[in-house]
Amino acid sequence: MTSLTTSPALSVRGLTKRFGDRVVLEGFDLDVRAGEVVSVLGANGSGKSTMLRCLSGLTKFDGGSVTVAGREMRSGERVPEFAMVFQKIHLVPQLSALENVCAGALGRLSFWQAWAPRAFPADVREEAMGCLDRVGLAERAHDRARRLSGGQQQRVAVARALCQRAGVLLADEPVSSLDPAAAEQVMRLLRSLADDGMAVAAVLHQPELARRHSDRVVGLTGGRITLNIPPSALTDADVDALYAPDYAAEGGLT
C-alpha cells in the first residue's frame, strides 16, 4: 500500500480522442493516487464522460498513454483494475442486490462457474456479502434492486465495483440522479473508500460536492485541462468559467 501512495495508481498522459473531425479530448493528463478523490468538473460536451469511457475500455482512444498500477493499458482494453459507477446506476432491476454485486466478479470467472445469477459459487457470494456490508446494505441482500431507493441502488453499484476487486473507481456523475441526502451519503462512501486506499476519479456536476469531498479538482474545457487545483482554491469564478459553454448552449434567459 505504501508504494501505491507514492506513485500514482492511475496515470494518464496526453489522452486524445476524436469522433470523426471533432476532437473530444486533447492532451488530457491526470494522476490519481491511491487514497485520493479527484473530481472532474466541466460543461456538457467537455469530454468528461468520454475520458472515463476511454479509461474503462468502453471506448477506444486515439492517442496518449494510460498507466494503471504500473502497467500501461492498450486502447479499448478492459483492465480489471478499473471499476465504473454510472449516473444511471445500471443495476439489473429484477435481480437481488446480492446477485447484482456478484456480477462484479464475472471478469475472473469462467462462464460455467456462474452460468446464471443464482449460480455464483459460495466464495463469491460471501465476498459479495462483505462488499454489501461495506456500503451498509448487508441486510438488504435479497431485496430486488428495483425495490431499493436511488441512493441505495448506487451504493449497491459501488459494492459491485468492490466485488470486482478494482483499485481505481471511475464514477461518471454518480450522484446526479440522487436527492441531496442520498448524494451526500454516496459521496461520503466514495471518500471512505479512498481513505481505505482506493483511487477515486469522479465526474461531478455539483461544485459544492467537489469542494467538500475531494482532494483535488480538475476542470475540463473543450477536451483540455484548464484547472487542476485543491478544492479550497476553487472559486465561483472558476465554476462560472467552466460552465460558460452550458449557459451559452441553453440560450433563452440570460
Binding site: R78, K88, H90, V92, Q94, A103, F111, A116, Q164
Partner: protein, 282 residues
C-alpha cells in the same frame, strides 16, 4: 393582513403558424391516393358484395333455426352426452396449444439470442437466425401440420409438432425484439467489469427481460390454443375435429354447443393470460 396575489393572466401573443410546405401536401395526397387505390383493388379481388349477402339471408336463417329436414344451430344441444365428450376434446385442444408453446421454448430462446442485436455481434449469424425465424413463422401452422401428418399420421401429435415449429419462429422474433428494446446500461456495466458476451447475456440481458419473456409466452399459449382449434379442423383431433364432424353431419345444434364451449374456453384463457401478464409486468 393578506398579501394580494398577482393573478393577472400573462400577455396574449399570436401563435406562430405551423409551417406546412407544398411538399408535405403532395406527400399526404399521394399517400391517401395509394391507400384508397389499394382498397378499391381489394374489394374487387375479394368479390366483396353486400347485396349478395342480403339476398342470401334465408340460407343463414335455416342454418340458425333449421328447416323441415335438419335441426338449426339454435337452440344448442346441451345434453350431457354431447357436452361430456366435448370437455375431453377441449382438454386435448388446450394440451396441444400448451405443449406446443412450452416445447418451443429452447428453440425460440436459442434463435432469439442469435437473432438479437443486443446479444449477437456476428452479422452473418444474426441475419441467418432472423431469416430462419422468418421462414418458420411465415409458413402457417396448418401447412406445418400437413407436412408432419405425412410423417406421423393424423392426430394431436402432428398438431403439437406444427405448433412447436411455427411458434419457434414467432416467439423467437418477439423475444429477440424484447431483448433489443431492453435498457443496455446493465449490459455495459457488466462489460466494463470484464464480463464476456455470454456472461452479459446470462447476467444482464436475460434477467432484465424475464418478465417480458414470460408475458409473451403466456400470450403465445393463448394464441396457440386457438391455433390448435383450427389444426383440429384439418384432422389433428380435439374440439376442432368435433366441430368439423358436426358440420359434416348437419348437426348444427351440436356444432353450436361445441362453438359455445370453445368460446368459453378461449375467453377464460384470454382473461387468465391477461391477468397473469398484468401481475408479471407490475
Amino acid at each position: 393582513m393578506s398579501a394580494t396575489l398577482n393573478t393577472t393572466p400573462a400577455r396574449r401573443l399570436p401563435v406562430p403558424p405551423r409551417r406546412r410546405t407544398v411538399g408535405w401536401l403532395v406527400t399526404t395526397a399521394a399517400v391517401l391516393a395509394v391507400v384508397v387505390g389499394l382498397h378499391v383493388v381489394a374489394v374487387r379481388e375479394t368479390e366483396f358484395s353486400l347485396p349478395e349477402l342480403v339476398t342470401g339471408w334465408h340460407g343463414i336463417w335455416s342454418f340458425l333455426f333449421g328447416d323441415p329436414k335438419t335441426a338449426g344451430a339454435l337452440p344448442p344441444d346441451l345434453s350431457w352426452k354431447i357436452v361430456g365428450p366435448a370437455l375431453g376434446a377441449c382438454a386435448v385442444t388446450f394440451s396441444m396449444g400448451l405443449l406446443g408453446t412450452t416445447l418451443s421454448i429452447p428453440f425460440a430462446l436459442f434463435l432469439a439470442l442469435l437473432g438479437s442485436r443486443t446479444t449477437s455481434k456476428n452479422v452473418v449469424v444474426y441475419q441467418l437466425a432472423r431469416a430462419l425465424m422468418s421462414f418458420l413463422r411465415s409458413v402457417p401452422s396448418l401447412v406445418w401440420g400437413l407436412i408432419y401428418v405425412t410423417a406421423v399420421g393424423l392426430g394431436p401429435f402432428p398438431g403439437v409438432l406444427a405448433i412447436i415449429t411455427h411458434n419457434t419462429g414467432v416467439m423467437g422474433k418477439l423475444w429477440s425484439e424484447a431483448m433489443e428494446e431492453t435498457d443496455r446500461g446493465p449490459l455495459e456495466a457488466l462489460r466494463s467489469a470484464g464480463a464476456s458476451p455470454a456472461q452479459t447475456a446470462a447476467h444482464a440481458v436475460l434477467p432484465s427481460v424475464t418478465p417480458q419473456f414470460t408475458s409473451l409466452f403466456l400470450y403465445r399459449v393463448d394464441v396457440n390454443v386457438r391455433d390448435a382449434l383450427t389444426l383440429g379442423v384439418i384432422g389433428a383431433g380435439g374440439i376442432g375435429f368435433y366441430i368439423t364432424q358436426a358440420i359434416q353431419e348437419f348437426q348444427f345444434n351440436v356444432m353450436m354447443t361445441y362453438v359455445l364451449m370453445v368460446t368459453v374456453m378461449v375467453i377464460a384463457l384470454d382473461l387468465l393470460s391477461a391477468w397473469l401478464r398484468g401481475r408479471i409486468m407490475q
